[in-house]
């Protein structure tokens, strides 16, 4: 039986900053194009999580008048701090000694989820059709092998895949060009990169996990516009990562921690490192007596240009972090993601109107300011594989003296899942117990994400080999899924590997870090997953 199908000029998968920018730009260039966006979250913004200190360059190009159109981009960065933390000490790094990419004085502290909600309104005004709650679950191909479009997931299946009373067959969306903007480690993007060999000749992609909380604090603790980053404690010198602390509007602080997923110790728990980080004397004082109001986590791209795959294939484009356009040293990806969306839209118009080959997208992207900035940032992350101290020294030389123009490119040698060392070779880590005021457990945290998945549906975290976790991963690595998952989806109970998939917040860390690549994240039934507010 054939599924119902709808025809569009352009179908976009994912209503994040890149996808929404593409849609808006397409309609600005040609109002007659039919454009639709599929979004797995129950509403636009529900699955968006980001720091976020926002550089407006791409937004200026997309909607020059955004200041008068009510864009939720309001809190200017007014002050910056960078701290190196020891266990009880902190050393403030003079901001004039920071590489210029880490300076933020023209930027804004925003909620990216709110910016996406606003962009969605702008897109809908232009006639873009946005369908939240409909995950694209399958790529469709034409006979010649080119991408034909996507299909939405069947809804109303039970655990075993049988049809329930509410069963609703998925439908096909066909497009002249399909744009994949699922964000970091998109599950369709991953399939496309493999099928079309897009990563050939590139370094393995590098990822990090970002955890974020929003706190409401007292007026005395709050300094609107303050942007603060830290490196060092509680991470050891071999682990790449650090914190961000952004003082936003309404006495809120956006607080987060990013850890490179190339960490070696299977006992490391990113969630608990984040909780422990808050207990540092120079951090604690900002939050004591305050209230944590949101929690979430999401994997992010750290590979840069060395790992950036080919961004086009017959009939489709990869944009934003579905390809991997985040600028790691800058700790920003929204502006480059949006720029890739702008370039994608211009290229699609040329493709549809003048039959230009989709390869012009990559060519144009490489000529853009976004690529230039990624290129000059390329050596920072790999230099930290030599450890924190050497990484900092090298980055100083590379970014301050040479401004990213050193005549060589360092490589990322391993994929993140290859970085773990056997548990027997690594020290166990004892994390302090949460106090329920400043530090919390996973259970109370997942509650704040509002995540939910209809109970009786197929498990969306699939094991290639269901016996592997107990037989191999538990023995060799003490099953790190128990720790790298920020919301406790994976548990070992009485020699059994339990997957609490209803708690999943779609961060994709398991899909990345599982040492044997045994876990595959697929899209669950529409509307499932977190319900983030102003993350």
């Amino acid at each position: 039986m054939t599924r119902e199908a709808m025809e569009y000029d352009v179908v976009i998968v994912g209503a994040g900053p890149a996808g929404l920018t593409t849609a808006i730009k397409l309609k600005q260039l040609d109002p007659n194009l039919s454009v639709c966006i599929l979004e797995k979250g129950s509403e636009v913004g529900a699955h968006i999580l980001s720091g976020n200190v926002f550089e407006t360059k791409a937004l200026d190009e997309l909607i020059p008048n955004w200041r008068n159109e009510g864009a939720p981009v309001k809190t200017k960065v007014s002050k910056e701090k960078f701290l190196f933390l020891g266990k009880n000490s902190s050393l403030s790094w003079p901001t004039w000694l920071l590489p210029s990419v880490q300076k933020n004085h023209k930027n804004y502290i925003i909620s990216l989820a709110n910016l996406c909600r606003w962009l969605a309104e702008q897109a809908e005004k232009l006639g873009v059709e946005i369908f939240p709650g409909f995950p694209a679950s399958e790529v469709l191909y034409k006979h010649d092998g080119s991408v034909k479009g996507v299909a939405t997931l069947d809804m109303g299946l039970d655990k075993e895949g049988n049809k329930k009373d509410t069963y609703q067959e998925g439908m096909e969306l066909h497009a002249k060009v399909t744009v994949f903007s699922e964000g970091c480690r998109g599950h369709l993007g991953k399939q496309l990169i493999k099928k079309f060999n897009l990563a050939e000749g590139k370094n393995p992609q590098q990822y990090g996990i970002g955890l974020k909380e929003i706190w409401e604090v007292s007026e005395q603790q709050h300094e609107e516009g303050l942007v603060m980053h830290t490196a060092g404690w509680p991470l050891d010198k071999k682990t790449y990562g650090g914190s961000f602390i952004y003082h936003a509007e309404n006495r809120q602080i956006y607080l987060g921690y990013v850890i490179g997923l190339d960490y070696q110790n299977p006992y490391l728990s990113p969630f608990d490192e984040f909780q422990r980080f808050k207990t540092h004397p120079s951090i604690r004082k900002m939050f004591d007596g305050g209230k944590r109001i949101s929690f979430g986590a999401r994997a992010l791209i750290e590979g840069g240009v060395q790992s950036l795959p080919k961004m086009y294939m017959p009939g489709a484009l990869l944009i934003g972090c579905d390809a991997g356009t985040l600028n790691m040293p800058k700790i920003k990806g929204s502006h480059t993601a949006m720029k890739s969306g702008l370039v994608a839209a211009e290229s699609i118009i040329e493709n549809i109107k003048n039959k230009a080959d989709l390869s012009i997208y990559e060519k144009k992207f490489k000529e853009s300011w976004a690529y230039k900035e990624l290129y000059s940032a390329r050596n920072v992350k790999p230099s930290f594989s030599w450890g924190l101290i050497l990484g900092i020294i090298f980055t100083g030389i590379d970014q301050i003296l040479f401004r990213g123009r050193l005549p060589f490119t360092l490589k990322h040698k391993h994929a993140d899942h290859e970085a773990l060392k056997p548990a027997s070779q690594m020290p166990k880590i004892e994390y302090p117990k949460p106090d329920g005021k400043l530090t919390f457990d996973k259970t109370s945290s997942v509650y704040l994400t509002g995540t939910n998945h209809t109970e009786n549906q197929p498990v969306h975290l699939r094991l290639k080999d269901p016996d592997l976790p107990i037989k191999y991963t538990l023995k060799e690595y003490d099953e790190p899924a128990q720790r790298y998952c920020p919301v406790g989806v994976y548990e070992i109970q009485k020699e059994k590997f339990v997957i609490n998939s209803q708690n999943c917040i779609h961060c994709k860390t398991c899909d990345i870090k599982e040492p044997s690549q045994n876990i595959t994240w697929v899209a669950p039934e529409g509307g499932g997953g977190p319900k983030y507010g102003n993350m």
């Binding site: 129950s42 509403e43 059709e129 109303g156 509410t166 704040l448 509002g450 102003n534």
Partner: protein, 249 residues
């Protein structure tokens, strides 16, 4: 036959509610909103009756700010034929909503009004009952099963003692329980079609009823935090604690 079905836009049931610091209410900015769950059951049942050929038209109505139209569109996407949006920016108590609904009933002349048993935001559980009184129609509340006959409707209600079957003459008010049915998903083509279905818009101020709220809300606050539990060593200790500390046995 014709059914008027009332739907309300509320904070999604998965969202953890946050009380405003000044105690004036709860935060709703950038919070995911959805149709009140039992209202989904009311819509589903109306559409089922229509599909069974027993009902000809289903009209969905919502009272609220502009975004309440999204809630109406969702009802249209799963099978309602027409929408009515009564625009009101402020909170209106169940009494005011019932008055508005009565006016709409006078105009639309449905044979039945289906509502959710209560809304999950204020938990009032009053609108259906008040509307029945104003219209002087019979009411059947907490329906967990519905059987529509020629001139009456039989419903089963889940009550403390078991199941109660009542039959009321039409026209009637039916309020729906969560176990009545399993609401369907809206399909993409139906969401598209719903955008083209008619939606009437009326300003609540022009409806000609007194909407003054009668209840003054003094303060909204979070319930006290639950104390952590303790582990007891033996049954004897548990019994003694239940007797002497908790004083429940």
């Amino acid at each position: 036959m014709k059914i008027l079905v009332a739907v309300k836009r509320v904070v999604d049931y998965n969202v953890q509610i946050r009380v405003k610091e000044d105690g004036s209410g709860v935060h709703t900015d950038n919070v995911k909103m959805s149709t009140n769950p039992p209202d989904d059951n009311a819509v589903e049942e109306s559409v089922k009756l229509k599909e069974a050929g027993k009902v000809k038209e289903v009209v969905a109505i919502s009272v609220g700010e502009d975004k309440a139209q999204e809630t109406i569109r969702k009802a249209l996407a799963v099978g309602a034929d027409k929408g009515i949006h009564v625009k009101a920016d402020n909170y209106i108590e169940p009494l005011g909503i019932a008055k508005i609904l009565k006016k709409i009933v006078d105009k639309e002349k449905p044979d039945m009004v289906f509502l959710g048993k209560q809304a999950i935001d204020d938990d009032c559980n009053q609108t259906g009952q008040m509307l029945a009184a104003m219209l002087n129609w019979p009411q059947a509340t907490f329906a967990s099963k519905v059987n529509l006959k020629d001139k009456s409707i039989e419903i089963i209600r889940e009550i403390d003692e078991g199941l109660e079957t009542v039959e009321v003459n039409l026209p009637a008010i039916v309020t729906c329980d969560l176990r009545l049915n399993q609401p369907r998903f809206a399909s993409l083509p139906n969401i598209m079609k719903a955008k083209k279905k008619p939606m009437e818009q009326i300003d609540a101020k022009n409806i000609g009823v007194d909407l003054t709220n009668r209840i003054q809300q003094l303060k909204v606050e979070e319930p006290p935090k639950r104390k952590a539990g303790i582990k007891v060593a033996s049954v004897a200790e548990l019994v003694s604690k239940l007797k002497n500390e908790a004083k429940v046995i």
